[in-house]
Point group: C2
Chain length 212, copies 2
């Protein structure tokens, strides 16, 4: 195996799903980045290689020790839905966003005082699908794979009752039940094509901030 | 153009660089995700589609109004260097990491009190290259594209004097001058292959935290 061949294998691992879609001609079923079987979402994998959109932080020490979503939450969107979003400004049928919870590991570092990430702590997902969730508001369903001890993850999850999540998502989220106002990568790229991928223009994006 | 063809074009835009590498056989020059000319780094573009590794937060209100790196900093690594890192646990020749600064837009939301991202605010980069920076410690050079008014970005940047950055990076960074202790995606994936891409194993990664 040559050096280049080895490097290609590395990249093929990273972008395998997308590369195989490109090479295969893109079968419709392969456009979904999740598996929903028997009323349950199988825990998605590989999402740390999707497109990152933003990180809200609700630290326990600012929420009486009991943050609803402790503490950092790194949010990702699947690559095909990202491509659709930056082109159209809309979430496509079959869009999936992952929210990975991460503890606060430290509050002081060489760069100053603040909040610094610690350990992975939980995992949630939301999917927009008219086909799968015709009665859910906006066709979004919500899932959690987090367990009580935060040491393991569930292998699959049934949708949460809509009321649990939509009391916030329906009223306050800026775009189609999604909190794009806190996800600058989504807010900045909405319908803007390649300009939204970072640094394509001289002027920094200054987002309009609804719901503030 | 068929629906599938359109979808493919969207994905091709997203992963164009990598797909063309896969299809072309991966020329050595194409493995670099940056352009360094005349002693300056051209401002990288498209990095929001690279692999996100973590978000330190040093808010102004926790640093006497003058954080050194205001305020959120979303950090990305180029895809080829990510593939190398998860395989070997090392940063390859030609690795580039981008740090995008984002203001704090809000301190309260439906999910609780905390810190929520606002606008893009600045952009920095670091590159490891023995070829380009043979005399820099660890062969890392640092660049900033941020301007004083935070409204625009520089089109190119010369390396910062090593002493400006390395007084922190040399002493405190956990891996090869990089603060992997605050980047759980890097820390969790170090040499772990596909396990590091998210959710491939039942047990949540619990990172060892040096330099705490």
């Amino acid at each position: 195996m040559t050096k280049h061949r080895k490097a290609m294998v590395g990249r093929a691992g990273l972008f395998g799903a997308v590369a195989s879609l490109l090479l295969s001609g893109g079968a419709a079923s392969a456009e979904e980045f999740f598996k929903f079987e028997g009323g349950k979402l199988q825990r998605p994998t590989g999402y740390r290689e999707w497109v990152y959109v933003g990180t809200p932080l609700t630290p326990n020490d600012m929420n009486d020790g009991k943050a609803g979503f402790p503490e950092f939450h790194s949010v990702y969107i699947d690559p095909a839905s990202w491509a659709h979003w930056k082109k159209t400004g809309e979430f496509r049928e079959g869009a999936i966003l992952m929210k990975e919870m991460i503890t606060v590991g430290s509050k002081s570092a060489a760069s100053g005082d603040g909040y610094f990430m610690g350990d992975f702590h939980g995992l949630e997902a939301t999917i927009k699908s008219k086909k799968l969730f015709p009665k859910e508001p906006g066709n979004w369903a919500y899932f959690t794979f987090t367990t009580a001890d935060h040491q393991t993850l569930e292998k699959s999850a049934a949708p949460e009752p809509a009321s649990v999540c939509n009391s916030c998502h329906a009223k306050i989220a800026a775009d189609d039940w999604v909190f794009t106002q806190y996800y600058p990568v989504l807010g900045g790229a909405k319908g803007k094509g390649e300009e939204g991928t970072g640094g394509k223009q001289d002027k920094l994006e200054h987002l309009s901030m609804p719901a503030r």
